[in-house]
């Protein structure tokens, strides 16, 4: 199943009987994933440094006595690796059951976050029984934090530290930390207070990498009771010029939330507070739903498209008749798509033969 020919001189290893070439620095996890064997994991996020905490990704390596975590073990020439055996599978099942037993619930709504289904999927895959072990939750929920965006439901925390690591490594803000060690370990913010008073910028990246929904998208969760299946549509954030790729989450005709696109060329899974949470202006009741024209009393009143377009056209025609074609000016938007800007300039150039066109970049 190798997607590369093992050329002369290139280091290779054997995974489940097949010879595979690899690049120096690749982990066993990465090499396996590349040949189509995605190993089970909970603490893994391909954008982050491997952490080796959950042990679900263990594999057997010939000549090494105990199974090793594949995410933190680098591939080496001549290694012979087995990714699945009866023992390893039994061990994984036990691990999943232990982790799941700590949590109040395993099935969480997918609106909680991009990775929120990882634990429940593993439970299903291993047919694990969540209550088999007496577990203590790793954290305590912070119902007191009144921020509108991030739910801190730490009862569901499994101490994979993906949130801490995404904050430090991806966002670069170090707003989330780890308090205490060992059995007392808790995910927290500096000073253990509300997020608003911390270094948190509410980018939402912790929410999107959390594998259990312990950190969750409070705003999207308002849509939990909206009937219908979640559908995702790939588009681009409406705000700044970075152009982050996002997936719009809809249920029927309702826009319920936004998730970052992990493969977005500009953002690779990152977003900021605006792109992540400021989406609901779209279906706001203030939206203009009908054309409006100013009446004789000076008020803007509802009109049909025909009336409004005729009135608009008539006004331009009249101005050209009275003042000439250089009296008309067009301003395109920096927030509407190309087709709007292109047609706006075409409208001016075709209609009036001038270059009296600009956009709002000067403001």
């Amino acid at each position: 199943m190798s997607d590369r020919q093992a050329g002369a001189g290139q280091a290779t290893l054997v995974i489940d009987g097949a010879e595979v070439a690899f690049e120096p620095g690749e982990s066993l996890f990465e090499v396996s994933a590349r040949v189509g064997k995605r190993l089970p994991s909970l603490c893994y996020d391909e954008r982050l440094e491997a952490f080796g905490a959950c042990r679900l990704c263990v594999v057997e390596v010939e000549g090494i006595r105990n199974p090793v975590a594949s995410c933190t073990t680098l591939a080496a020439d001549g290694m012979v690796v087995t990714t699945s055996s009866a023992e390893v599978e039994a061990w994984r099942k036990t691990l999943v059951e232990m982790v799941a037993s700590e949590n109040r619930e395993v099935e969480v709504d997918p609106l909680r976050g991009h990775a929120s289904q990882e634990l429940s999927r593993l439970v299903a895959r291993y047919d694990a029984v969540p209550g088999r072990f007496a577990g203590e939750p790793s954290g305590k929920s912070r119902e007191d934090d009144g921020n509108p965006f991030l739910l801190r439901d730490y009862d569901l925390c499994i101490s994979c530290y993906r949130c801490v690591r995404v904050c430090a490594e991806q966002q670069g803000d170090h707003a989330i930390g780890i308090a205490n060690r060992g059995f007392e370990t808790r995910i927290t913010t500096e000073f253990d207070g509300e997020l608003r008073d911390s270094a948190c910028v509410f980018c939402g990246q912790c929410v999107q990498t959390c594998p259990t929904g312990a950190l969750a998208d409070r705003k999207a969760m308002r849509g939990v009771d909206v009937p219908g299946e979640i559908e995702k549509t790939r588009t681009i954030c409406p705000y700044c010029g970075v152009g982050c790729s996002v997936d719009l989450m809809t249920k029927g005709d309702k826009l319920v939330g936004v998730q970052p696109a992990m493969d977005g060329p500009a953002n690779k899974g990152a977003l900021c507070v605006k792109g992540q949470f400021a989406f609901d202006f779209v279906q706001h009741e203030d939206r203009l739903a009908h054309p409006m024209v100013r009446n004789d009393d000076g008020e803007l009143v509802r009109a049909s498209w025909d009336e409004a377009l005729d009135r608009a056209a008539k006004g331009f025609r009249g101005v050209v008749e009275r003042h000439g074609r250089h009296a008309v000016y067009g301003v395109a938007s920096g927030r509407a798509p190309h087709e709007a800007a292109y047609l706006m300039q075409k409208w001016i150039r075709t209609g009036f033969g001038t270059n009296f066109i600009d956009n709002c970049s000067r403001a």
């Binding site: 790939r234 005709d253 202006f281 803007l300 377009l309 005729d310 008309v328 709007a340 066109i357 600009d358």
Partner: protein, 534 residues
């Protein structure tokens, strides 16, 4: 940007000037933080101690509007200390000798007197940038929204040229664009100087091409900018069609702007909300919004990407392109029969050399950065790798000029404006998104704590802030981010129309308004005192 966003993780020295990147382009800033974690040095020049400055290895708190002085002195040091990339200068540039002689007199000590940054820090910044391999420059409106905006950009270009940092992986000059399709609006020809693809509209060959394509004789001369058009409203300009821009809140000198719009005989707006600008409109046409519209937008690294509709628009709202096409047909303009946005985008590609190799389907995954001169071309992540548009990069001799207005006895305080992390532009969108007001319920004026005391103000108090053009009431907030003598506010709240005050001058070339510098005075207001009119 000359270089792709992914290059932001690669420089070993990053020079950020006039860019509040962690608030205005947050995801781009995460890449700089990653470069820093790998050991790169970060130099930040900004009047305010912004969050990015907290990450900096060297912070240069320059006085608003003094960028040229700082940059001249950096060039001076790079020459003096022999850090010029001789080979790049010899093979890729022009007019270096004249530039070298020009900067000889602009020492860090000279600049320090103007920009109030210690001379030794200016020299250190120059040394770091001169020794960088590669060094990258990032800037935003803090560079362009000045009467010397073009001079500022050219000064940065001089720095990049003399150090050979153009056309290199991890280098470049990188302006960060502030709106999701502001780059695209230019690409599409919605500018008075160029047709789609920045083809000059005073070049007879281009004029002939578009006159033929559009079936109409087009003037062979540049149009006027929006700023000039507003100046001429009621005089030479009598009708405007404005798409999606809340002009009276976002533009400088609100009083002037309102007067201009009022003096038009005919104003048609296309928008998604009834904004403050609608007060002046004769007709308001409802457009579909983001998430309701299929289309293409181009980001700051020249990457066209697809917008996709996911939900229906409210009521009778229609896509901008449909509205424009209908309006064209009613004015008997030829060539506006389109079946959908794909057809329009493909027409744009056929007329624009930088998009010639693209079409609606090809931009679907955002895999290309323009120029894409023909089908099969992989796109151009980095500009200027082998040559510049005019062959060689030209050094420009720039002189420092004061801002249009400088502080004096009557208006002793510098006001500078910008955006905040959570609110966007005039807040018509973020203000209608639930939860944003948890962070930013209303506008405040950020004032250094010691200035508050010196000016007889208490933290949180209402104050009257006034420039030569107008005054507003605004709440003050003690903020160590503001330097002594400089105050800051965003332009996101119509209730605090800071642009009543701004608009002291415009760059003579681009006519970009000097929104970053405005001398003001301030005084406390008792909570029940009537607002003075000005």
């Amino acid at each position: 940007m000359s270089n792709p966003l992914s290059d932001m993780e690669l420089p070993n020295v990053m020079f950020c000037i006039g860019t509040n990147m962690t608030e205005c382009h947050p995801v781009a800033a995460t890449r700089l933080k990653k470069a820093k974690a790998k050991g790169a040095k970060l130099i930040v020049a900004d009047p305010r101690r912004i969050r990015l400055a907290e990450h900096a290895d060297l912070y240069l708190p320059l006085r608003v509007g003094s960028d040229v002085a700082l940059l001249l002195a950096m060039a001076h040091v790079i020459v003096r200390e022999g850090l010029v990339d001789g080979e790049f200068v010899a093979t890729r540039t022009r007019d270096y000798e004249a530039f070298r002689d020009h900067v000889a007199e602009f020492t860090p000590e000279w600049a320090s007197a103007i920009c109030q940054v210690p001379a030794k820090d200016i020299a250190l910044a120059a040394r770091w940038f001169g020794e960088a391999a590669p060094g990258a420059i990032y800037y935003t409106l803090g560079i362009t929204e000045h009467i010397s905006g073009v001079d500022n950009v050219q000064s940065l270009s001089n720095l990049a040229l003399m150090t050979g940092n153009l056309g290199k992986v991890g280098g470049g000059i990188n302006p960060m664009r502030g709106q999701n399709n502001i780059q695209g609006a230019g690409d599409c020809g919605a500018i008075p100087s160029g047709f789609p693809g920045f083809q000059a509209c005073d070049d007879p060959a281009n004029v002939a091409k578009f006159s033929k394509a559009y079936g109409r004789e087009i003037d062979c001369e540049k149009g006027i900018t929006k700023v000039t058009a507003l100046d001429l409203a009621g005089d030479k300009i009598h009708a405007m069609l404005i798409d999606g821009e809340n002009t009276v809140v976002s533009d400088p000198d609100k009083g002037h702007c309102e007067k201009a719009l009022r003096s038009l005989e005919h104003l048609v707006l296309i928008d998604i909300f009834e904004t403050d600008t609608a007060k002046f409109a004769d007709v308001v046409l409802p457009a579909t919004a983001w998430a309701e519209t299929d289309g293409v937008v181009t980001n700051t690294e020249r990457r066209p990407q697809r917008l996709r509709a996911a939900v229906p628009a409210p009521g009778e709202a229609r896509p901008d392109w449909w509205i424009l096409a209908e309006l064209a047909k009613r004015l008997e303009m030829p060539g506006f029969d389109y079946s959908g946005p794909d057809e329009i985008f493909n027409e744009l590609c056929s007329l624009s050399p930088i998009y010639a190799g693209l079409d609606w389907d090809l931009v679907g995954t955002g895999a290309y950065q323009w120029p894409v001169p023909e089908k099969g071309h992989p796109g151009t992540p980095r500009l200027h790798e082998t040559e510049f548009p005019n062959g060689r990069g030209i050094f420009k001799k720039i002189l420092y000029r004061d801002p249009a207005e400088v502080v004096d006895d009557e208006y002793p305080i510098w006001l500078t404006t910008g955006r905040r992390l959570q609110t966007y532009h005039t807040n018509t969108q973020t203000g209608r998104s639930e939860g944003i007001d948890y962070f930013v319920p209303h506008e405040v004026l950020e004032v250094h704590p010691e200035d508050l005391t010196a000016w007889g103000l208490a933290d949180g108090q209402l104050a009257f802030l006034e420039s030569r053009r107008g005054g507003i009431e605004i709440r003050v907030e003690a903020h160590p981010r503001s330097p002594r003598g400089t105050v800051f506010s965003s332009f996101s709240f119509a209730a605090t129309p800071i642009n009543d005050l701004t608009g002291s001058g415009y760059d003579p070339v681009t006519q970009t308004a000097e929104l970053k510098v405005c001398p003001v005075k301030i005084r406390p207001v008792a909570e029940n005192e009537p607002v003075p009119s000005s």
